[in-house]
Amino acid sequence: MDPIMMEFSQHSPVLIVMAPFLLGMAAAAAGWANRKWAFPMAFLGLLSGLIAAIHMLIKTAKGEILVYHMAGWLPPFGIAYRIDTFSALILTAIMAVALINLVASRASAEKDFTEKAPAWYALYVFFVSGLAGMVATEDIFNLYVLLEIASLSAYALIGMGHNRAPFAALNYLLMGTIGASFYLMGVAYIYIATGSLNMTDIAVILQEMGPNPTITMAFALCMTGLLAKMAAFPVHGWLPNAYTFAPDATTNVMAALTTKVSIYIMIRLVLSLFPLSLAFDTGIIADAMVWLATIGIFAGAFMALAQKSFKRMLTYIVVVEVAYMVGGFWLGNRAGMTGAMLHILNDAAMTLCVFMAVANIRARRGADAFSDLKGLFQTMPFSMGALVISGLAIIGIPPTCGFFSKWYLISGGIEAGHWGFVIALLSASIINAILFFKVFEIAFFEVPAETFGQNSREHESDHHTHHGLPSLAMAEARISMLIPLIIMALTLLALGFMTGGIVNLFIDPAIPGQVL
């Protein structure tokens, strides 16, 4: 490699956050200079983030753990970034998802926000760099700050949607701040008990200290906060409204990333900060979490069944998916954890794909109530094709990626003897199948009323031979929305085939050896 690039490449851990952030500010500034520059700046920012992420992915795959000392101060005195295989994987997922959605959402963002579009780009990029920072950082307080920058941007991005969006966003803000504050309170307890803010340092101190009630309380506070942030049942109340009424461009990335990153944080805290014995030895906490997840799966799935619009239904599926990961992780065995970690990646991809497909439908049809979906297989075959693939992934049908994470989750459940969780996962598959086939049936068998009237005479004249529907003209979404969607749909298949490699290279090394 060229020496200058070498020089530069060692900074990837910080560049993944700072490159998007700086260029996001440039995008913001473009709003007062020349609006045309806003999109290229945001695009370039996320692209450089993606390059940095892939670079780290390659590096960590070789067994390296990247540690970066901010301002040159060694931890625990300064802030450090620490990127292992799994965080590199999640960072890549974040950047890829954000970049693809940015491209796909450009048209709708420019249309919805017109002169405020640069601000949208800026907030979008701030949001993404906040998430990336949360994944990369090793400092628990820095994590809080990054969490807040991501959340604040998220509130604003959501609040700009439908008429009901501001109220939903305000509820999200209240709930999100409670969650973040609980986390901060946990940080306070940890700090008081150890005097440190660096995860690795704290882990060492806690190892020496042994069981400590203060740390148990810190653990409870952090977990409560994160559960609220990730919309786990029963504190999921903010999510459906917020995601339903947010603009599509926002919902896509939010649904794909926010909850997933919170789960990542939970996993990271449990695996590399708190002593494992605290989380799993008594079995009470772990069992309670798995049962909570089990109930959450059923509750979310049944609520999804009751919805009348597609996007809203999907938001409940997001809640269900969160419960998969929480439950899988707290099974406490290797298969379950692998499943939860793999599902973070897979769920980000499939959620993005399905929401992008819905965004395409909404862009064409203007609405997404089930009655607005008639005849879609004829008018939007490609978008629907992608929707079918993402639907299959969510149901968990091979060879889409959703199947393989479910595989690990269920086998984890079987190993741990948690039959309730296993049954919940299987039932969720069936309910998801019902949900999606409801949509597919409407899109396949029905035609919009106005076109039907037009063709009905011809239809009746030869009812014997000419079955089926009157043919509708194709009206696909614009190409800039379609191509990212198709790429994502293919990604879902590709991820499925790459499962083995991903698990071996990136997930397995990140699970501590004592987890069997």
Binding site: A29, E115, D139, N142, A156, T214
Partner: protein
């Protein structure tokens, strides 16, 4: 709901209170928080940066990365308010605008094509029977006060190395002066002094000064925000380079905080219209 909330809070609060007796005693100098990391800061801060204010050192050097994102949070909040509220729809939809009559302080809504009453017309007084005459004392006092406040804020900024103070505090005071101008006069006046565009660009530039300093360190071959490497540029040794850099980033923070405070005020007070709202 209320009872449930009460039970929940009492239960959780009880748990935390019962747990509280495991926490160290109030003011205990031997508690882990005071013995693990913090002695390092207290002992080395001056040596490393030649700056007596340890809080400033930790803020802008040891944990400068946090602080940068703190400024970024402020920036994001500014953009969030702008993004959510700002509408320049005047003339497009609704077609009305607001006019505030300065002598009476009455704000009236003028519909599309509506005519503005004459400056000295009785209309305004009849709208608000209890109007208090416009008070030149407040206006004048504020006009006198503002420059001093601004100088004070610069002092808070510049003297942050030696006394409590620093970028955030200076920024807030500076922002308050502009807001004071808006309150004592009206929004138009302060917008003339500091337009929305200026506020937005200042906030971006402020954060950029901070982040850019870090980037410069990175480009010069050291870790992000490691000010040591700036020593040749600042014509000083490494410790002094850190000291100077702390000032530079504090200036950036001041600009950002000031601009965002003013910007949020503009948007909140006029509900995003930025005309004679409040």
């Amino acid at each position: 709901m209320k009872k449930l909330a009460l039970i929940l809070c009492l239960f959780a609060g009880g748990l935390l209170l019962m747990n509280a007796h495991y926490l160290p005693m109030w003011g205990d100098p031997a508690s882990p928080a005071s013995t693990h990391v913090s002695p390092y800061f207290i002992e080395n801060a001056y040596e490393h940066t030649k700056t007596p204010n340890m809080v400033a050192v930790v803020l802008a050097d040891y944990r400068s990365y946090d602080t940068m994102f703190e400024a970024a949070v402020v920036l994001a909040a500014g953009f969030a308010c702008f993004f959510l509220l700002r509408s320049r729809a005047r003339g497009k939809k609704g077609g009305h605008h607001y006019y505030r009559h300065i002598p009476t302080g009455v704000t009236i809504k003028i519909e599309e094509g509506g005519k503005l009453p004459a400056e000295n017309s009785k209309v305004f007084r009849s709208i608000d029977a209890l109007w208090t005459p416009y008070d030149p004392i407040i206006q004048t006092t504020c006009r006198c006060l503002i420059p001093f406040l601004q100088i004070y804020s610069l002092y808070v900024l510049a003297h942050g190395h030696y006394s409590p103070g620093g970028g955030f505090q200076a920024g807030v005071v500076l922002g308050a002066t502009i807001i004071l101008l808006a309150i004592s006069h009206n929004l138009k006046t302060s917008l003339k002094r500091m337009s929305e565009r200026t506020a937005a660009l200042w906030s971006i530039i402020g954060v950029f000064i901070f982040a850019g300093t870090g980037l410069l360190c990175l480009l010069l071959g050291m870790d992000y925000l490691n000010y040591e490497v700036l020593a040749p540029l600042l014509l000083s040794d490494e410790a002094m380079a850190r000291s100077h850099s702390i000032l530079i980033v504090e200036v950036g923070v001041t600009m950002a905080v000031m601009a965002v405070m003013v910007w949020i005020y503009y948007n909140l007070s006029s509900a995003g219209q930025q005309d004679e709202g409040l």
